[in-house]
C-alpha cells in the first residue's frame, strides 16, 4: 500500500476508542497523555464485561463449570500476554501494576542474593520513581549501596562516564534501567546494559513499562533476567501489571506476598510454596483484568506491533518538527527520532526568557481540549539533573493524529503569547 498515509493506523483504530470523540467545551478532545495511561478500545472493555456477566468465578480453586470457564479465561490471558512478548505462560507473574512488579523483584532478589552492606545496586537517574524507590528501600533494609548511571546533556545514558567511574564492578549485584524513558523518550541500549550487568555477574532488571506498549517485544532477545510492565499503558485495564522472568531464575526466588494460591502445603508451623508463577501471586488474582489484558494483547497483535511502532515513529517525528519550530520551546532529551519513543518533554519560555510554568501551560492547553501532563512525571531526579523543576510532556500512541499535533502546537503558541502579553 505505497500511497497509504503514514498515519493510516490512527484513522483505522479511532472508531474503537469512543472516548476520543469527546469534546472539551467547543474543542475536540486531544488526548496527548498516553504515556501516563492509554485509552482502551471497546474490544477490551467488552471482554472484561463479558467475563463478569457471563463467566465470573474464582480461578484454580473453583472446579465447577463457571470456575473452569474463569480459569480458562484467566490462564488464556496469561498465555496471550506471554506470546505477545515472546515468553512462556509460566514465566508471566501477574501483579497489580509495574510498581508492584518492581517491588517484587527487589524483595525477592534481595533475599535470593542475600544482599548485604558490601553489595551495590545500580539504577539510572532517568528512572521513574517506581524504579528508584523500591531499590532505595531494598538498600535501606540490607545495607547495600545504591548507585546510578548519569545521563548526557542530550538525554542518553552516560555509559562512558559510568565506565570511567567503574560503576559496574564485582560488588554490583543488581542492575536496573528503563527500556524507554517516560520523560525523555530515550530508548536505552538494553542489550548492551544486560551484557554489561552479566559481565560482572549481576542480575539485570528491565523496566519495560514504556517499551512493551510501543515496540515489538521479544523478551528473550533483550537479555534481561526480569522484565516489568503494566497493563494500563498498553490499551489494557488498570489493576494489572506483569513481571516476566527467566523460569530458571523465577524458580530460585523466594515468595514475596504470602496467602492463598501461592502455597503448596500450609501447616501452622511452616508452609511450602507453589512453583512459579503461582508462588508470586498471593490471593485472588486480577481475573477480569487478565482477561482484559489478554484482549489488549490480541488487539495490538492484530494490528501488528510493527505498525504500532512505525506509527509512533511517524507521529513523534512530526511532533518534533512542529515543536522545534516554536520559539522559546526547549525539548528535554533526544531531539532526533533515532532511538526515541513517543514521549516529548519540554519547557516553554516567553521572549523575555520567563518560563511558562508547566502547570499553567497544562491548564491553558486543557482549556483548548489538549490533554498533556505537567510536573515531574514521577521522575524528579531527572528533572533536577536537567536543572528544571518540572516540564510539560506530550505523549502519543497508536490513535494519535497529526491534526492533534497541530492543535498542540497552536495551543502552545497561543499560551506563550498570552503570558508574553501579561509581561508587556
Amino acid at each position: 500500500m505505497p500511497d497509504r498515509s503514514p498515519f493510516w493506523l490512527a484513522d483505522a483504530v479511532r472508531p474503537d476508542f469512543p472516548i476520543l470523540a469527546r469534546r472539551v467545551g467547543e474543542w475536540p478532545l486531544t488526548y496527548l497523555d498516553s504515556g501516563n495511561t492509554s485509552q482502551k478500545p471497546r474490544q477490551v472493555v467488552d471482554a472484561i464485561a463479558a467475563q463478569y456477566l457471563e463467566h465470573n468465578a474464582n480461578v484454580a480453586r473453583a472446579m465447577h463449570l463457571l470456575g473452569a470457564e474463569a480459569t480458562e479465561a484467566f490462564e488464556g490471558g496469561r498465555a496471550k500476554v506471554a506470546s505477545f512478548i515472546g515468553g512462556r505462560p509460566e514465566e508471566i507473574v501477574f501483579t497489580k501494576n509495574a510498581s508492584e512488579a518492581l517491588n517484587l523483584a527487589a524483595h525477592a532478589l534481595g533475599q535470593h542474593l542475600k544482599l548485604g552492606p558490601a553489595d551495590e545496586v545500580v539504577t539510572t537517574v532517568m528512572e521513574h520513581h517506581s524504579n528508584i524507590v523500591p531499590w532505595q528501600l531494598l538498600c535501606e533494609r540490607t545495607g547495600a549501596t545504591l548507585r546510578w548511571f548519569d545521563v548526557t546533556e542530550s538525554g542518553r545514558l552516560d555509559l562512558a562516564q559510568a565506565h570511567a567511574d567503574g560503576l559496574l564492578n564485582e560488588r554490583t549485584k543488581i542492575v536496573t534501567a528503563a527500556w524507554v524513558s517516560n520523560v525523555l523518550g530515550t530508548v536505552n541500549p538494553v542489550i548492551e546494559l544486560a551484557a554489561r550487568a552479566h559481565a560482572v555477574g549481576a542480575v539485570f532488571v528491565l523496566d519495560a513499562s514504556q517499551g512493551v506498549p510501543q515496540l515489538p517485544t521479544a523478551v528473550r532477545d533483550l537479555g534481561a533476567d526480569l522484565v516489568a510492565f503494566t497493563g494500563h499503558k498498553m490499551v489494557g485495564p488498570t489493576g494489572i501489571g506483569v513481571l516476566w522472568g527467566r523460569y530458571d531464575l523465577l524458580e530460585k526466588l523466594p515468595p514475596f506476598l504470602g496467602g492463598g494460591e501461592m502455597i503448596e502445603i500450609v501447616e501452622m508451623e511452616r508452609s511450602t510454596f507453589a512453583p512459579p508463577p503461582a508462588r508470586f501471586e498471593a490471593g485472588t488474582p486480577p481475573i477480569a483484568q487478565a482477561v482484559g489484558l489478554g484482549a489488549a494483547a490480541d488487539y495490538l497483535s492484530a494490528l501488528g506491533m510493527d505498525n504500532v511502532a512505525a506509527h509512533e515513529r511517524a507521529i513523534t517525528a512530526y511532533a518534533l518538527e512542529r515543536l522545534n519550530a516554536i520559539d522559546g520551546l526547549r525539548i528535554l532529551g533526544p531531539n532526533e527520532i533515532a532511538d526515541r519513543g513517543g514521549a516529548i518533554a519540554f519547557t516553554l519560555a516567553t521572549p523575555d526568557g520567563a518560563e511558562v510554568h508547566p502547570h499553567d501551560l497544562m491548564q491553558f492547553l486543557d482549556s483548548r481540549g489538549v490533554a498533556v501532563r505537567g510536573g515531574h512525571h514521577c521522575a524528579r531526579p531527572l528533572h533536577k539533573r536537567f536543572g528544571v523543576q518540572s516540564s510539560t510532556r506530550a505523549s502519543f500512541y497508536l490513535y494519535t493524529t497529526p491534526d492533534e499535533i497541530d492543535r498542540l502546537a497552536d495551543s502552545l503558541i497561543y499560551t506563550r503569547d498570552f503570558f508574553t502579553r501579561g509581561a508587556a
Binding site: 472446579m63 470456575g67 480459569t71 480458562e72 502445603i265
Partner: protein
C-alpha cells in the same frame, strides 16, 4: 458424556479397594506430591530391583479419580521394567490430554482405559495424573541415587 459414565465401575472398584496401598520397605526413593488446588496428597515409594520395578507403595488421600488411578498405576508398573513403566506413563498422559479423543489401547493400558472419560473433564485430569507423576519422580530419584 455424563458424569455418571465417567465414574466407571472399574474406577469405583479400585477406589473402594486400592491395590498395593500402604508404605512398605525396602525402597530407594520416597516422594510427596500435592495438588494444591484440591488438597490431594500422595507419599509414594519405589523399590527397584535392577531395571525392574519391584514394588510401588503409597499413602494417599484424595478423590476417587486420583486414588483409583494410583491403584491402577501400581498394578500396571509393578513387575515391568523402568522403561516399560515410563512408556505406560507416556501413553496414559497422552490419553488424559486428548480431551477423550484418543481411542486408548486396552492391551497396553488395561484397567487404565477406564480413565478416558475423565479426559473430557479438564479439571480432573490433574487428579488422574497425580499418582503417575509421583511415580515418575520417585523413579528418577531412585535412578539418580543408584548413579551416585
Amino acid at each position: 458424556m455424563s458424569v455418571e459414565a465417567m465414574y466407571q465401575e472399574i474406577i469405583l472398584d479400585h477406589y473402594k479397594a486400592k491395590h498395593h496401598a500402604g508404605l512398605r520397605d525396602p525402597y530407594e526413593a520416597e516422594v510427596t506430591h500435592v495438588n494444591p488446588s484440591c488438597g490431594d496428597e500422595i507419599m509414594l515409594r519405589v523399590h527397584l530391583d535392577g531395571d525392574t520395578v519391584a514394588d510401588v507403595s503409597y499413602d494417599a488421600v484424595g478423590c476417587s479419580i486420583s486414588q483409583a488411578s494410583t491403584s491402577v498405576m501400581s498394578d500396571l508398573v509393578i513387575g515391568k521394567t523402568v522403561d516399560e513403566g515410563m512408556a505406560l506413563a507416556a501413553s496414559f498422559s497422552e490419553m488424559m490430554h486428548s480431551r477423550g479423543e484418543i481411542e486408548p489401547d486396552e492391551d497396553v493400558l488395561e484397567d487404565a482405559v477406564a480413565f478416558v472419560g475423565v479426559a473430557k473433564f479438564p479439571a480432573r485430569v490433574k487428579c488422574a495424573l497425580l499418582g503417575w507423576s509421583a511415580w515418575k519422580d520417585a523413579v528418577a530419584h531412585a535412578l539418580a541415587a543408584k548413579e551416585s
